[in-house]
Symmetry: C2
Subunit: 191 residues, 2 copies
């Protein structure tokens, strides 16, 4: 049976300079439903990786969940800004790293069941010496500090529940796919 | 410098039986900001895996982003329902698979920068013969069809941008961590 997905209305309930909150009235096979639709500024995320498999995470306080979380370097794309520039800028602001070459991997929607909130994910290869200089700019967003981790440590933090931001787990998922394909001899992944 | 994160108010702007939309007024180091906070029903996700590394995905239409996406089996925890029961129920409803043993891996927050929307992730080991029977219940949510994939195919779909739901990429990230630790001889991961 082919299914019918009809969007009847998208009504703006609340709007600020940072986001818009809409409610959608839809019908699936003739049955009415409503969905939230939060529109947020498109974002970038960039993961520096060293030849020994190390990276840097930022410790950030997240108001909506009222907790500190481990995150990759990420942030919104400024109006009119080229996303590649946003990625480099965020890496300077949040981790103090200025890099030459960055590689775009893919783009995803952070929470498609309730939001339009896209993330473009990049990696960049840096030496361990360069990574060791990583530190955030004082007063940057809700960042408390940065810390260097081996990817194996992040893997263990995922399984222990310490690394529990879905947006960041999504980035880890993409990175895992990228590095695994590299190991299997396909495109991508120097690791 | 220690940083100050103060939540001043959480005001409900819109509420339905499925979600609540709040706006938070906060101050970071004395600078006022606002954040959206969407409260959604806690959810479960369950990934069946076979000895040959195959699983099943559902093709689902997502109104907020107005597109079809590939997803793992997932859904909300009904009021008062044990999450383990929710996971088994969703696997029956969305994939037609009734299983004995399920394993909880971890819980994450899907979009901590804007929502309280937790997911508890489970895996379950099934034979390839059982997996081959997978099919969704007609009229279930916005599901169009189910299809069986090898995990390597999902990896390639991530890198090509075909598998682009952040929530599902987060689950893939956790699964990758779990299976990798299994391969390295730690706890977990039969794969």
């Amino acid at each position: 049976m082919s299914r019918q997905f009809i969007t009847h209305t998208i009504k703006t309930i609340h709007q600020t300079s940072h986001y818009t909150f809409n409610e959608m009235t839809v019908s699936t096979d003739g049955i009415q439903k409503i969905f939230p639709q939060v529109l947020r500024i498109p974002a970038v995320m960039i993961i520096p990786i060293t030849p020994t498999g190390r990276t840097v995470l930022v410790r950030q306080y997240r108001y909506p969940v009222q907790q500190e979380m481990w995150e990759f370097c990420a942030g919104g794309i400024d109006a009119g800004e080229d996303p590649d520039i946003s990625a480099r800028r965020e890496l300077v602001e949040e981790c103090g790293l200025s890099v030459d070459t960055i590689e775009f991997i893919t783009e995803f929607q952070a929470l498609p069941s309730a939001a339009i909130n896209s993330f473009r994910l990049y990696v960049t290869y840096v030496s361990d010496d360069v990574l060791n200089t990583a530190t955030h700019r004082e007063g940057e967003d809700e960042i408390l500090y940065t810390r260097i981790f081996h990817l194996n440590e992040i893997r263990d933090m995922i399984l222990s529940g310490e690394f529990n931001s879905g947006t960041m787990l999504a980035a880890y998922g993409v990175l895992a796919a990228y590095l695994e394909r590299g190991r299997d001899g396909g495109q991508g992944g120097q690791g």
